[in-house]
């Protein structure tokens, strides 16, 4: 508040300063939380779409195509956060205006739309992408055009960029503690790894295998990948039965997920006889799978809708009020909700919308009101966050049965795990 005063009147004496402060206070009281405090020319030196009353941001998700299933929750959560921020007076006194673009589950389209948002719309930041493939497609554009991206999904790691804030977990945050938990609490000694056949499950399983064999000194008795969309798992299930693992560790995604759990149940593999821990089932997936098929199995995430804290209760209530009482909130949806808030805090800390200043200011930003509990951005632009184990209930919700004692440090390039 004082800063402009001193800049404009370097030789001001005490009286003038006092007058100035009083004047400013009056100005602040009479005007809507003022853009006058921070003129646009000062908070926006790189020709972003920022005016005295408005700041334009982009939202880039798939609202059509295969990924619409998953990305809809993220779109809704980001919109909710933006609405709430606007209701509180916006960012630096400016209301947030959103330009929504549809990546249509097609990676080149994502790249094209990202370019459009940055080059012709000059958006101040973008909330978006879901799959790693879409993020990889837009990353070079964000780096070249110097844009800012808030990316919500838990992902395989092995990436870090000045222009991206990763609000989901990187692989080690989700995997290591969860495996330790299974080994300690469930006494598991042998593991069967199952995943869909693409980069995220493969990288995750590589990390899991190293951890099981190297750190836990236990055994991996099988590792299998099935093509995306595969719906026949009977042979796999027989292999699992032959290998008799203490724990099935699963990262099956999409439609395959449903087939996998239905067929496990049909083959008599249920929670009373078999431990199963997954890193790919949230409330969203359970809606499709049907809780009765998975009851008793475990999932390792940082957030569950049933989390018992004040922030989360408010968040869940607001989400349901906006999108209907039947809507569910999965891990990524919550991570997407963090994006606009973290951006707001970064802008306020930097006192500027400039991407370079936000990127520099981001490390160390804290969000105490996050539904998942306190989070903090690390130097590598990932979040410190907790890991939690939820047990699947027949009604499609989770019972949180364990929580990592502290925040887990993000480590996108884990040494010894590559």
């Amino acid at each position: 508040m004082k800063k402009p005063k001193f800049e404009f009147q370097p030789n001001a004496d005490r009286r003038q300063v006092l007058q100035g402060i009083v004047g400013l206070a009056i100005a602040a009281a009479t005007m809507r939380a003022g853009a006058q405090k921070l003129p646009t020319s000062q908070v926006n030196t790189t020709k972003l779409a920022v005016t005295d009353t408005e700041v334009t941001v982009g939202q880039l998700h798939s609202s059509t195509g295969t990924m619409a299933i998953s990305e809809t929750g993220s779109i809704q959560a980001e919109q909710l956060a933006i609405d709430q921020i606007n209701a509180m007076g916006g960012v630096l006194g400016r209301q947030i205006k959103v330009i929504k673009e549809d990546g249509a589950s097609d990676w080149p389209t994502f790249a094209e739309k990202a370019k459009k948002l940055l080059v012709s719309d000059h958006v101040a930041t973008v909330f978006g992408c879901w799959t790693s493939a879409s993020r990889k497609a837009v990353l070079p554009i964000f780096e070249k055009e110097n844009g800012m991206l808030y990316y919500p999904t838990f992902y395989e790691g092995l990436e870090q960029s000045k222009n991206v804030i990763y609000t989901g977990q990187e692989a080690t945050q989700q995997i290591l503690w969860g495996l330790d938990w299974a080994s300690k609490e469930k006494g598991t000694k042998s593991y069967f790894l199952v995943g869909s056949d693409y980069i995220w499950p493969r990288t995750s399983m590589k990390i899991a295998r190293k951890h099981i064999e190297g750190v836990l000194k236990q055994k991996v008795v099988g590792e299998e990948y099935y093509p995306l969309g595969n719906t026949n798992f009977n042979s796999l299930i027989n292999k699992i039965k032959a290998a008799k693992p203490d724990l099935i560790y699963a990262a099956v995604v999409g439609g395959s997920n449903v087939a996998f759990y239905k067929q496990l149940k049909a083959a008599g593999i249920t929670a009373d006889k078999q431990n199963l821990l997954t890193i790919s089932v949230t409330e969203d997936e359970l809606l499709g799978i049907g809780g009765e098929n998975t009851a008793g199995f475990y999932s390792c995430m940082k957030y569950f809708q049933s989390l018992d804290n004040e922030n989360n209760k408010k968040f869940v209530a607001a989400f349901k009020a906006k999108y209907g009482p039947k809507s569910v909130i999965g891990d990524v949806t919550q991570a997407a909700y963090l994006g606009p808030w973290l951006w707001k805090f970064a802008v306020e800390k930097a006192g500027s919308f400039d991407v370079d200043k936000i990127a520099a200011a981001s490390a160390g930003i804290e969000f105490k009101g996050a539904p998942e509990g306190y989070v903090k951005i690390a130097d590598n632009h990932h979040l410190y966050s907790k890991a939690r184990i939820g047990q699947m209930l027949p009604d499609g919700q989770f019972k949180v049965v364990a929580e990592s004692p502290g925040l887990i440090k993000p480590d996108p390039f884990p040494k010894g795990y590559q």
Partner: protein
């Protein structure tokens, strides 16, 4: 591993192969009629399966809402309804789209592909972009365990029984009924069939609708195995075409045999290789066989 245990796994693996066979055959049947008999490349076949699957979902939602006590009994009725809806859909499609294109078979590919994209967006907009699963009756879930360590999936048995009846029904209808006679006459020589007083237009319409109806039954049956989403249909369509083409178009027996061979190759190789490699292996075998026999396993005996 001890011997009885190996026997158990062997038995279950054998069953896995058979149940995949049933799934593939059920997928292929409707298409065998439409593509095999009529020569229409129906790219929307998968979406008719999705219609069937969504019908079951609708049935389960309605039952849960209005008559939760009847949840154990709705499934057979839902299958009948699935046939009916897909049949009606097929009837309308034939009337609006296909009948104008019989002389241009390749254009049916484009037209039905457009239809499939349209239907997918309709599912996404009006039903849900998320995948849904109907609540299945308890008797369909779980496994039948004749003794310790041997679990036979009940849904697999159900799909097998259903496939058996549908296949037997189609065979009977095609080879023993008046409709079947008319279809076969129309397929082998359209002008001649016309000349002998067969209403080929009516026959075409009915045939197409029945093919779609069977796809609806298939879709309904698959709700016991997987989920239903707007794009589920596009997952089924590849396998369906694979089965029909590999078996040789215009031959129901070929379709059945090809479903059996593909299923066994796939499920046996899956047991000894990883899932993705098994798929590669199966497809390579199919490609090689088709290179040697482009007409498929069973060629149709039609004079051209």
């Amino acid at each position: 591993m001890e011997l009885p245990e190996m026997l158990n796994i062997g038995l279950m693996q054998g069953f896995a192969g058979l149940s995949l066979f049933a799934v593939l055959l059920l997928m292929g049947l409707g298409l065998a009629i439409i593509f095999g008999q009529m020569g229409v490349i129906n790219m929307a076949q998968g979406e008719f399966m999705a219609i069937g699957a969504y019908t079951v979902y609708l049935g389960s939602t309605l039952t849960e809402k209005y008559a939760p006590g009847l949840i154990d009994y709705y499934f057979p009725f839902a299958i009948v309804a699935a046939f009916a809806f897909a049949f009606i859909g097929g009837w309308i499609t034939e009337w609006a789209l296909i009948r104008h294109l019989y002389k241009r078979p390749l254009d049916t590919l484009l037209a039905t592909w457009g239809l499939s994209l349209g239907l997918q967006q309709v599912f996404r907009t009006f039903i849900s972009p998320k995948e849904v699963s109907p609540t299945l009756p308890d008797w369909l879930m779980g496994s039948w365990a004749p003794h310790e360590g041997l679990d036979i999936p009940i849904n697999g048995m159900f799909v097998m029984v259903l496939t058996f009846f549908v296949t037997a029904g189609v065979m009977l209808a095609l080879y023993k009924s008046r409709w079947g006679l008319r279809v076969r006459a129309t397929v082998s020589n359209r002008p001649m069939a016309n000349a002998t007083g067969i209403n080929t237009k009516k026959t075409d319409q009915l045939t197409f609708a029945i093919g779609c109806g069977i796809a609806g039954i298939a879709g309904a049956a698959f709700t016991t195995i997987g989920s239903t989403g707007p794009t589920s249909g596009s997952l089924y369509i590849v396998d369906a075409f694979l089965v029909v083409t590999f078996g040789g178009t215009a031959s129901l027996l070929g379709t059945a045999l090809s479903a059996f061979l593909i299923a066994q190759t796939q499920s046996i190789s899956e047991f000894f290789m990883t899932g993705s490699m098994a798929k590669v292996f199966t497809l390579s075998v199919i490609v090689m066989v088709l290179m040697l026999r482009p007409q498929g396993l069973f060629a149709s005996k039609i004079r051209r």
